[in-house]
Each structure stands twice: as structure tokens, then as C-alpha cells.
């Protein structure tokens, strides 16, 4: 049922995006049909791989020292001795109904509850850093464009490269070494619940997450705005005496918005990837940290939940990016 509701909302979104644009609508639905065609093989492949791995779920539930009879009984109780395809259909049906079952390691809670507990932490560090990346990255990138060819431009570009080359798992350790251990200004680990994001605890993770992103964003903004900055209408705007802010927002960014939109959406999704290391090193009890714990403990209900909704979310973001691109530039349907 959950899946049907989600597909319904998706459908409505497709209609809303392609409002008054028949060619866009045709494209939207053509892409929409591809979602299940891509989803089913990927999901089946992932599922089969997880089930084919030795150390079957019965051992995880009953413990590795359980006797053969206990294992057999566990298999019976959890339906693990049925044919592979039957289990696949059953598990898919459960996931589609939003019934992800109880976790093996935290058996008193459902997966959905556990995820709901952990996601605020991840969101608390990813959302502020995305805002920082967006605003600072745009500002720095535009600044470099306006100062094109000067030493400032070269400086900004090379420092961007420096931060881009820093893997987050090294950067956060260096920041902790300098600011927590040597100087003692900031704490060296997360304390409190997710509301601690408003205290000094959150500075190191947010800064780590932002720095690399700002560098990438600034370089990207510079590349896409450099084509625009020499256009005659920018010169016209300058000669009319408009301020740099007005020119930047009204004329430069507006004309460079197409590639920007297509990068921002996947960035939001991918930013959770960087938080794997930040959460682990800074000991934040967020979703990524939980995902790793569950993965190593072979918590099957969680793995299924993670794979099912992760694949679907990935395909959705992909679709949405394509749609926004086409909505902004209808020529792309050809």
C-alpha cells in the first residue's frame, strides 16, 4: 500500500511538473515507465546477493553456537526454507506495504522506528552544511568569476583544489587534532541528542562536511558562469550602473541556473555518503553509523529496508533531475 501511495504522489508530481507542456509530459511518463523496469532487476540482484551470502539469517537470529535443531526451527519460524523466489516475492510485498519488520540486533524495535530515531542526527549535520555549501560556494564562485584573471581568482581556485583533495576522513581528524586536542577549543565528539547541533559540538562535523563541498561548488559555479560573464547583456547592465549583486543574481546566476539545478539535487542525496566517516569518527549516533553497524552485524531486515528504499530513492532523484532539466530547457527532449 505504501508503495502505491508513493507511486500515486510521483504520478501527481509528474503531472504538476509537465503542466501545459505536452512534450515534457510525454517524456516524463516515458521516463516513469523505466522506473519499475530498472528497479526490479536491481532489487532482485541485490536481494539474491544478500541471501546467497553464506552465514544465513538463521545463524544471525539464533546465534552462531546454536545447535542444528534450533537453526532448523528458526528457519521454519522465519520462513527461510521456502524457495528463493517465494521469499523474494514475500519480502518485496512486505517492503511495499511499509512493513519492514523488527531489527535482529535491536529486536524490540521495528526498522522504521530505529530509522526515525537516527535520521534527525544525520539531518542535523547534513542540512546546515548543505546550506553553507550553497551560499558560500555560490559567493566564492561568483567572486572568482568577477575577478577573472587576477591573483585573487588564482588563489581561490588553488585553495579550492586544496580542500577538494582532502578526504573527509583525514580532514576531520586533522580538525579534531588541532581544535580539540591541541587548542582545546571544541569538543572531540558528539554529546547529547540531535539538538546539540545548536552548540559548539556541531562545529567540527559541519565544517568538515562543508569545506570540500564549498570547493567543488565554487569551481563548478565559476565554470558555468564564465561563459555568461562576457555576454553583451552583462556589459549593458554594467553600463547602466547596476550594482554587482544585482548583476550577479539577476543576470549571471539566472542564465547559469540550468546546470546548477541538475547538480544540486543529487548533491543533497550524495551528501549522506560523506557523513559515513564523519559520523563514525566523531561518534554521532546518526543514520549512516547505524547503517554500518547493521551491515556488519548482517541485520537482514535492515539490509532489505535499506536496499529497497535506497534504490527507489536513487531512481526518483535521477528522474526528478531529468525532469527539472527538461522543464527549464524544453529543447532537451529532442
Amino acid at each position: 500500500m505504501t508503495l502505491i501511495v508513493i507511486f500515486g504522489l510521483w504520478f501527481v508530481l509528474a503531472i504538476l511538473i509537465s503542466k501545459n507542456r505536452p512534450s515534457v509530459r510525454r517524456f516524463a511518463f516515458k521516463r516513469f515507465i523505466w522506473v519499475p523496469i530498472l528497479f526490479i532487476p536491481i532489487w532482485f540482484g541485490t536481494y539474491s546477493m544478500m541471501k546467497a551470502a553464506p552465514g544465513d539469517p538463521a545463524y544471525v537470529i539464533a546465534g552462531s553456537h546454536a545447535s542444528e535443531e534450533v537453526i532448523e526451527a528458526t528457519r521454519e519460524a522465519y520462513g527461510l526454507n521456502r524457495p528463493h523466489i517465494v521469499q523474494f516475492v514475500d519480502d518485496t510485498w512486505k517492503q511495499a506495504n511499509g512493513n519492514s519488520g523488527n531489527s535482529f540486533i535491536f529486536s524490540e524495535k521495528t526498522i522504521a522506528q530505529l530509522a526515525a530515531e537516527r535520521i534527525p542526527y544525520s539531518f542535523a549535520i547534513t542540512f546546515p552544511s548543505l546550506l553553507v555549501i550553497l551560499f558560500v560556494g555560490l559567493t566564492v564562485g561568483l567572486w572568482a568569476t568577477f575577478k577573472k584573471g587576477t591573483w585573487l581568482d588564482t588563489f581561490l581556485l588553488s585553495s579550492a583544489l586544496f580542500w577538494q583533495a582532502f578526504p573527509s576522513l583525514i580532514l576531520i581528524q586533522f580538525l579534531m587534532l588541532i581544535f580539540s586536542v591541541k587548542l582545546g577549543w571544541l569538543p572531540a565528539g558528539w554529546s547529547g541528542d540531535w539538538t546539540a547541533v545548536f552548540t559548539t559540538t556541531a562545529i567540527i562535523p559541519i565544517v568538515t562536511m562543508s569545506l570540500g563541498g564549498i570547493a567543488g561548488m565554487a569551481r563548478f559555479v565559476r565554470t558555468i558562469t564564465l561563459n555568461v560573464i562576457d555576454e553583451p547583456y552583462i556589459n549593458a547592465a554594467k553600463s547602466r550602473g547596476l550594482g554587482p549583486f544585482r548583476i550577479a543574481i539577476r543576470y549571471v546566476l539566472h542564465n547559469a541556473s540550468l546546470p546548477l539545478v541538475t547538480v544540486l539535487l543529487p548533491m543533497f542525496f550524495l551528501s549522506f555518503e560523506g557523513s559515513f566517516f564523519i559520523e563514525r569518527i566523531y561518534s554521532i549516533p546518526g543514520f549512516s553509523n547505524f547503517a554500518l553497524e547493521a551491515l556488519f552485524a548482517r541485520d537482514y531486515p535492515f539490509l532489505l529496508f535499506f536496499a529497497f528504499w535506497g534504490i527507489l530513492l536513487g531512481l526518483f532523484i535521477k528522474w526528478l533531475t531529468d525532469m527539472l532539466y527538461i522543464r527549464l530547457d524544453p529543447r532537451a527532449t529532442q
Partner: protein, 321 residues
């Protein structure tokens, strides 16, 4: 006379990469980057013959000591010499870099991005959809799932190989190979798409048409007329791919699912220092491996930036600056 001339021109065509190498060598800043990469590669090669100490011997009495004359980078938690371990770790990184360029992501991306358009529409379509499906998922998510599913099967398979398999496991080569497989599986997508877009434009151009008119086979068109035109793109994506591969190895080994202990890799070395207690008592565990791998990655990224400047035309250079 005529034959000599044709030979000469075709030899010039083959030398695109040599020309690029000459360009890089003439640029002073790129030369520095090449030197940095060279130092790490030299350390890696040297580790096959000589390390100052055995990277696997524990000397608990000497544990967590700072840098000194006998052990240049200090010692780790159980007293192993950190410099030797960094040398051994750079071996893993350099091998991974090398095989990705020679036999992994780069040949895959060229093979899947350039050839299918010329040979079969269906194959091209299939490659496109597969790339789209894999590209829709975050790389690390895909890697974790692949690792969770494939690793146990892979281990069983390696054990069945007998002595060769045991040797691979003993020397850590089995771990290296599984990382290589997983990375190759996903790293071709972006570059292949880029090559394809370039080839699509080029396919309509006059020189391809002339070649076809003269009766050149598809393979000859691709290898003699298309690929030499693509070489800047190939070098750029190769450099970026190296950065991605090194980063992925770092990530996997850090999480404990890449190169397994006791074999040192940069990810594993950096995982040892990753808590505040270690950072306060033994900061050298972070500083030395961190700086080595950072300069390796930075050198490749820097080289990529310089190449963009060097290979662009006069007008583009003005834009890129």
C-alpha cells in the same frame, strides 16, 4: 618517397600521449606534481625489496613512540615501524592506481563508451541503461551492498583455488583484487558517458565519412581516427578516476572492509588514529600517513587542473585561466 611520408604521419598520430607527456614535463608546476607522485611510487617499489624495519613485527616495548632516527615516522600501537607500514600501504595504493588504468575502469569506460555506438544500437542501449541504473545509486551504498553480498562467496572461491589462493590471501592480494573488482564495476559510468557524447558528435564529422568512403573498417575508424581525437578526454578522466579509486580504497579500508589487517593500507592506518584518545597521545599516527596520501591525491588533482590549462586552445585558456 610517398610511403615514407605516410609512415611519418601515422607515427605522428600515435604520439599524442608522448606529446602530452612532453607538455607536462615542460610545465614547471606540473613537474612538481609528477615528482610528488614519483616519490610515492618509488616508496612503493622500494617496499618490495627493502623496508627499514619489518612492517609486521610487534615490538610492544617500543609502542606509540614519536618520530626518531631509528623509526622516521614513529611507531604504532603495537610498536610496528610506521615508515615501513606507510611504504607498504603506498604499494597497495600504487598497484591499485596502476591496474585501474591498465586493466580496470579506464579500458572499461573506453570499451563501453566508444565501441557500442559503432557496432550495435542494442548494445549501446543496454550499456546506457545499465550505466543509468548503476549511476542512480550512491557509489558507497552500492559498494557496501556488493561487499556484503559478494565477499563471502569470493572468499570461498579463493580458497578453492588451492595454493595460489592461499598465497593470494596470505599476501593480501585477494583483498586488493576484490576492491579492484568492485571499483571497476562502478567507475566506468561517468567517463563512458562523456566519451559517448564526444563520439556521437565526431561520428558525423567529415573525416569519419571520408575514412568510411575509403573503405576503412569500423575498428580502424575507431582506433585510428576517433581515439586519437579523444586523448585529452581520456587523460583527464584517467586522472580523476585515479583520485576516485584512491579515495574509495581509503574509505573501504577505513571501514574495515577493504584491505584486511594486518596488511597496512592508508585507510587502515588512518582508522587506527581515528579517536580523540589516540589523537592526543599519538598524533604522528595521523599526521604522516595523512600527509602522504593527501599529497598523492592533491598531485593528481593538480595535474588535472594544469592539463586543462595546457591542452585548451587560446580562447578556452582565456576562459579557464
Amino acid at each position: 618517397m610517398d610511403t615514407i611520408n605516410t609512415k611519418k604521419t601515422s607515427r605522428f598520430k600515435q604520439s599524442s600521449f608522448a606529446e602530452l607527456a612532453r607538455l607536462v614535463w615542460q610545465d614547471k608546476l606540473s613537474r612538481i606534481a609528477v615528482f610528488v607522485i614519483g616519490i610515492v611510487v618509488f616508496m612503493a617499489l622500494l617496499s618490495f625489496f627493502w623496508t627499514p624495519h619489518d612492517p609486521f613485527t610487534n615490538q610492544v616495548a617500543l609502542r606509540r613512540q614519536g618520530p626518531s632516527w631509528s623509526s622516521w615516522f614513529g611507531t604504532d600501537l603495537v610498536g610496528r615501524d610506521l615508515f615501513s607500514r606507510v611504504m607498504y600501504a603506498s604499494r597497495i595504493t600504487v598497484i591499485l592506481t596502476f591496474i585501474t588504468i591498465v586493466a580496470g575502469g579506464l579500458p572499461f569506460s573506453i570499451g563501453l563508451g566508444v565501441f557500442p555506438i559503432f557496432y550495435s544500437k542494442k548494445a549501446d542501449f543496454a550499456v546506457q541503461r545499465t550505466g543509468e541504473a548503476l549511476g542512480a545509486l550512491p557509489a558507497l551504498f552500492l559498494i557496501l551492498i556488493l561487499r556484503a553480498g559478494l565477499r563471502p562467496m569470493y572468499d570461498n572461491f579463493v580458497y578453492t583455488l588451492g595454493p595460489a589462493g592461499r598465497w593470494a590471501i596470505k599476501t593480501g592480494m585477494a583483498d586488493l583484487f576484490v576492491i579492484f573488482l568492485i571499483i571497476s564495476f562502478i567507475s566506468w559510468i561517468g567517463p563512458a558517458r562523456m566519451f559517448r557524447a564526444q563520439v556521437l558528435q565526431m561520428r558525423e564529422s567529415a573525416f569519419v565519412e571520408r575514412a568510411r568512403m575509403l573503405g576503412a573498417s569500423k575498428f580502424r575508424i575507431v582506433s585510428r581516427h576517433i581515439l586519437p581525437q579523444l586523448y585529452t578526454y581520456i587523460v583527464h578522466s584517467a586522472l580523476l578516476m585515479i583520485v576516485g579509486v584512491v579515495g574509495t580504497e581509503l574509505a573501504l579500508s577505513f571501514l574495515g572492509i577493504g584491505i584486511q589487517l594486518p596488511y597496512p593500507s592508508f585507510g587502515g592506518l588512518l582508522a587506527e588514529s581515528a579517536n580523540s584518545r589516540m589523537l592526543s597521545s599519538a598524533a604522528h599516527l595521523l599526521i604522516f600517513p595523512g600527509l602522504v596520501i593527501f599529497s598523492y591525491i592533491f598531485a593528481f588533482l593538480f595535474l588535472e587542473l594544469r592539463l586543462t590549462l595546457l591542452t585548451s586552445s587560446e580562447h578556452e585558456r582565456e576562459v579557464l585561466q
